[in-house]
């Protein structure tokens, strides 16, 4: 019985650590997907001169979850007649639970919404390019950081479990 309890405690803490580690590992992947999506959006705006609702639809088709849902909501909001700026802000608020991104990431992504669709394509391109550049920097930092953190959490979970077992025994 005692042994079973010990195993359960270690397994519980260990899986919690692994879950946390997997969330940390998802962040750079999500940032990479965001960069891809913004590049697509940029192409649609500059080369395709596609109106935003349609452009979001195209981006939606070509990204995976959770970004797919993000752009689907954006498209829906724009079709309902919201302005692009508020739609972007509101979508971030309603969708950020589905992501593993940090506050600082959302701040940069939120910058896309300022003036989105309000100027000519050259200016839109410049704005999106700036955000992409900033996001790329964050992504590089996040890559190194998350690798360390993820490793730490995956070990730490099990170690905490073992420590707990030792204390309890």
């Amino acid at each position: 019985m005692l042994i079973m309890g010990c195993v359960a405690l270690i397994a519980g803490c260990g899986s919690l650590g692994l879950w946390l580690a997997s969330r940390i590992r998802r962040r750079p992947a999500e940032l990479r997907a965001c960069l891809m999506a913004l590049a697509l959006l940029d192409t649609e705006i500059v080369w395709g001169v596609t109106p935003l609702p349609e452009a979001f639809g195209i981006v939606k088709e070509r990204t995976d979850l959770p970004w797919q849902k993000f752009f689907a909501e954006l498209q829906e909001r724009l079709e309902r007649g919201e302005s692009a700026g508020t739609a972007w802000k509101e979508t971030i608020l309603s969708q950020n639970v589905n992501f593993c991104l940090k506050q600082q990431d959302w701040q940069v992504i939120g910058d896309v919404g300022h003036g989105l669709g309000r100027s000519d394509s050259q200016e839109q391109h410049k704005q999106l390019e700036l955000v992409q550049h900033q996001l790329a920097l964050i992504k590089d930092q996040a890559g190194v950081w998350s690798e360390k953190q993820a490793k730490m959490w995956s070990y730490l979970g099990f170690l905490c479990g073992i420590a707990g077992v030792l204390i309890l025994i």
Binding site: P53, A55, G81, E82, D120
Partner: protein, 354 residues
């Protein structure tokens, strides 16, 4: 698209109700009409920000069917134009004098522009440069503001100061009256130019003629012809994402948003049209391309701004065309008895009024 559908439905009740009908059906008719008007106002209101929208939602005094233009100017009262009146609206949607009317704010224009472009100003850059936008349904919105120039050419407009929403009407059957006059002795369709001052129904008549020519009119012995429409301003077909809003007939191909000069060449080369139709001839490039197209044997159907034959002859680009004897028929329209009044049809070869 829904806009067009409802618009064409509303044209019918314009006919006066038969006086022998019992009173109940008359009141029902007018109720139905006011319902339709409210629905159409609501449909139009979606293009505006919250404040203007609430005004348009409350309008009762003017039926939508009478309205020709809706004008928003920064710091000026909200104005609705019918065929013979300018009406100022207050924030309750009632007609009032200019001083008590609702004064349009800059945000109203920004909001309207954002909604009309689906938050995609960059997508209508080319149109904005020419000072207009086209809404789904073919309604055209005139835009003025501060022009930004680069190398002497208009780059874009900023600080938008006025919007003029012109409501497109689709009036069936008017073309049928003048079409017989446009046919030559051998029953073939001749090169035709429709002229009128602004707001006199040129585009509406042109659309009707395109449909008739494309479908053919058996009672006039006119078989359907392949028509190529070069719709530079997206107004003729009211294209929205590749689907035309207006019915332009069975044999009509539409080149949407293409400059007339290059569009004519493209059409002739790729779609083998028998008739090429376009709106608002006026640029010298258009004239050169038109002369080219004439050599390929197509018939031309076009419109231009001018209120009379004399005025047309004084416009350099048109004068050149008229001197060359390009057009066989000239139709002059005016607003004398409402939009679309036909002032006269001229046979330019003989100079006779038909």
């Amino acid at each position: 698209m829904s806009l067009h559908y409802t618009l064409s439905v509303v044209q019918a009740p314009k006919v006066k109700l038969n006086s022998t009908e019992p009173m109940t059906s008359q009141t029902e008719g007018s109720l139905c009409r006011s319902d339709q008007s409210a629905a159409l106002w609501a449909d139009m209101a979606r293009w505006f920000g919250p404040e203007v929208r609430s005004i348009l939602d409350k309008i009762k005094a003017v039926t939508f069917q009478e309205v020709e233009e809706l004008r928003l100017r920064v710091g000026q009262p909200l104005l609705v134009r019918t065929s013979d009146q300018d009406l100022f609206l207050n924030s309750e949607g009632e007609i009032t004098n200019p001083n008590k009317a609702y004064f349009v704010k800059r945000e109203d224009l920004v909001c309207a522009l954002e909604r009309m472009t689906h938050s995609s100003v960059y997508a209508v850059e080319e149109d904005l440069r020419q000072g207009f936008l086209t809404l789904p349904g073919g309604n055209r919105v005139g835009v003025t503001g501060e022009a930004i120039l680069q190398h002497g050419k208009i780059q874009t407009l900023k600080h938008i100061s006025s919007l003029n929403l012109r409501i497109a009407r689709d009036i069936l059957g008017r073309g049928l009256k003048i079409l017989p006059l446009l046919l030559g002795a051998d029953g073939t369709f001749g090169h035709t130019l429709l002229i009128s001052p602004p707001r006199a129904g040129k585009t509406t008549l042109l659309r009707d003629l395109i449909r008739l020519i494309s479908n053919g009119v058996p009672q006039l012995g006119l078989v359907g012809l392949t028509v190529g429409v070069v719709d530079e301003r997206g107004e003729l077909a009211g294209m929205w994402q590749g689907v035309p809003t207006y019915n332009l007939g069975y044999r009509t191909d539409v080149l949407d948003g293409c400059p007339k000069a290059s569009g004519m060449n493209m059409m002739v080369r790729s779609m083998a049209p028998q008739v090429i139709a376009m709106d608002e001839l006026g640029h010298s490039d258009d004239v050169t391309a038109l002369m080219d197209a004439l050599r390929t044997g197509v018939r031309i159907l076009s419109t231009a701004h001018a209120s009379s034959l004399e005025e047309a002859q004084n416009r350099p680009t048109l004068a050149h065309l008229l001197e060359q004897g390009v057009f066989e028929r000239l139709v002059v329209l005016s607003r004398k008895n409402g939009p679309g009044t036909v002032e006269g049809v001229y046979d330019l070869k003989t100079g006779r009024i038909l």
